[in-house]
Symmetry: C2
Subunit: 318 residues, 2 copies
């Protein structure tokens, strides 16, 4: 959770693009758990400094350009920051790239199912989990933007898929709409028994987004030589030691635990997006969005990730 | 540590071997951290029940046999238990096998460098760590029976090898005798700074025997895409949750953490023992033993593992 004042709304003049720069109007912001981590520690990106614009992936439209690669009207994605307008310079440090027009695909899909979440689920499942027919996959934060796709990729590959989520509504969505075989609401007191009942053959793959107590319980049900895709540890992002977990079960069950960051697969994004697109076109991949309106609501939106108020991809529309 | 009374010395008549059985006199007992775990929880083997003979790997000599595979005078190894005599039955549940006579190899070497410790170090390094020339390897419990061999295998493969141990004497042994590039005594208050200074290029491989705070500090210095060989977690064996470690660094640094148990590689023991033997013959692998005399001293010997009183392989001689 954010404390009041962690993020402050300030006003500044809209900048004019200089030579080699372009100005873009931000339309949609991707609200992701990793933002909370960026505020606290250096990770794969340096910590956001006090006074800096908060880092955020966004979808924007170029309104004025003196940059050779962008022209007015271009749709772009990159680290726009939590702001109304963003200046694209030549440095490429914020990864701006044009979004090609694709029929039947909404702008916001480029932030979710075809964006960071879809790509993360794709590479975590295909490169680390390597799901085999008949295996049991358990996904935590299963109604989230990444978890919901990871679980569906498991179904596509013939796995028994069990999701863990924090409300009955989420559980209903992932089983009835997405086709998960079972869903566990971890806020019910008997969730551990239900997890055991839903995984009669144990668990072969854990696609982990949460860490802490939920992960610990999943580890207890892992089969020998199982794989843990360490995608996120949201239960610990506001604590000093995120995702504190006992390693004893990892040793004794000979598990393989692997952390990954989607940026490592940048050269293969097109391959992944193409596959995700095919699955979506053939109805094998469904997505859902929770849209919050107004830049000033961004801090509330970030907190929704930690209270579990969103289902599917969480987006701020400006 | 053991509490007084956890193990009790009792007397019983020496059994006579029935049909298909053999009686062996136990000569040496291998004292290993895993014994403490066997006393507490079901792992890869069921927990030792109250009243049972404490489980232990031992080296014994057959004194009387009505078993077709063993004759008087045969040297054997297996789960003899902490006792003077052991009855070998046909069930093979305790893995008894004959030890062939090998020139220049002592009986006790079959419990250490050519036994569980050497094989564990071999497969952990060769199959999980896969050390490459120029990489930095950090081994915890580096003066122990397994760690000391794992580090030397790293040196054989051209790694910079840094050991973490609990006394200046141990540090001196692994650097001056075994050829480690540096050693860190974690009982010195500035050990974390010394670890940083000894790993100027970060750490590529962590051969982990300890867990807890020591592992956490090593993880901080791991390079991206590093490998953690999860061999042991002795810092937590007497606590409820062994090896509690924050997974945040594993995720952010995209580490691969893999648990393993030597029994998984049983079909390749001969290959490993042969390679270890060659290295030892050519002086590339040195070992050391701490021998405690008397079966009644076995509980004290087990505690030495937790107080750090032994260097190299710890053996009880009966």
């Amino acid at each position: 959770m954010l404390a009041p004042g962690d993020l402050q709304l300030t006003e500044a003049a809209v900048p004019s693009p200089g030579d080699g720069q372009a100005l873009a109007r931000v339309k949609y912001l991707s609200i992701d758990p990793t933002m909370r981590v960026w505020m606290v520690v250096d990770t794969y990106l340096p910590v956001v400094a006090i006074g800096e614009v908060m880092r955020c992936v966004g979808f924007a439209e170029v309104v004025e350009s003196r940059h050779k690669d962008f022209k007015k009207g271009d749709k772009v994605m990159g680290l726009t920051g939590l702001q109304d307008y963003t200046l694209i310079d030549g440095s490429e440090k914020r990864g701006f790239h044009k979004v090609p027009p694709v029929p039947f695909v909404s702008d916001t899909a480029f932030l979710g199912v075809f964006g960071g979440n879809g790509l993360t689920a794709y590479f975590g499942m295909m490169e680390i989990a390597k799901p085999q027919k008949g295996e049991t996959l358990v996904v935590s934060a299963a109604a989230g933007a990444t978890g919901s796709i990871a679980g569906q990729i498991g179904k596509i590959h013939g796995c028994r898929v069990v999701g863990i989520a924090g409300s009955d509504e989420k559980c209903k969505w992932i089983t009835e709409e997405l086709g998960f075989d079972a869903a566990i609401n971890y806020k019910h007191p008997d969730w551990k028994e239900k997890l055991a009942a839903a995984t009669p053959k144990g668990i072969d793959i854990n696609y982990e987004n949460v860490g802490g107590e939920i992960m610990q319980e999943v580890l207890k049900r892992m089969n020998l030589f199982g794989r843990v895709v360490l995608c996120g540890l949201i239960s610990g992002y506001t604590k000093e030691d995120p995702g504190l977990v006992s390693l004893g079960l990892i040793l004794v069950k000979r598990l393989k635990v692997q952390g990954f960051i989607i940026l490592d697969f940048a050269s293969r994004f097109m391959e992944a997006a193409t596959q995700l697109g095919k699955w979506k076109m053939f109805g094998k991949l469904k997505d859902r969005e929770t849209i919050v309106e107004g830049l000033e609501k961004a801090p509330d939106a970030i907190n929704m990730l930690f209270t579990g108020a969103n289902i599917g991809k969480l987006i701020v529309k400006i």
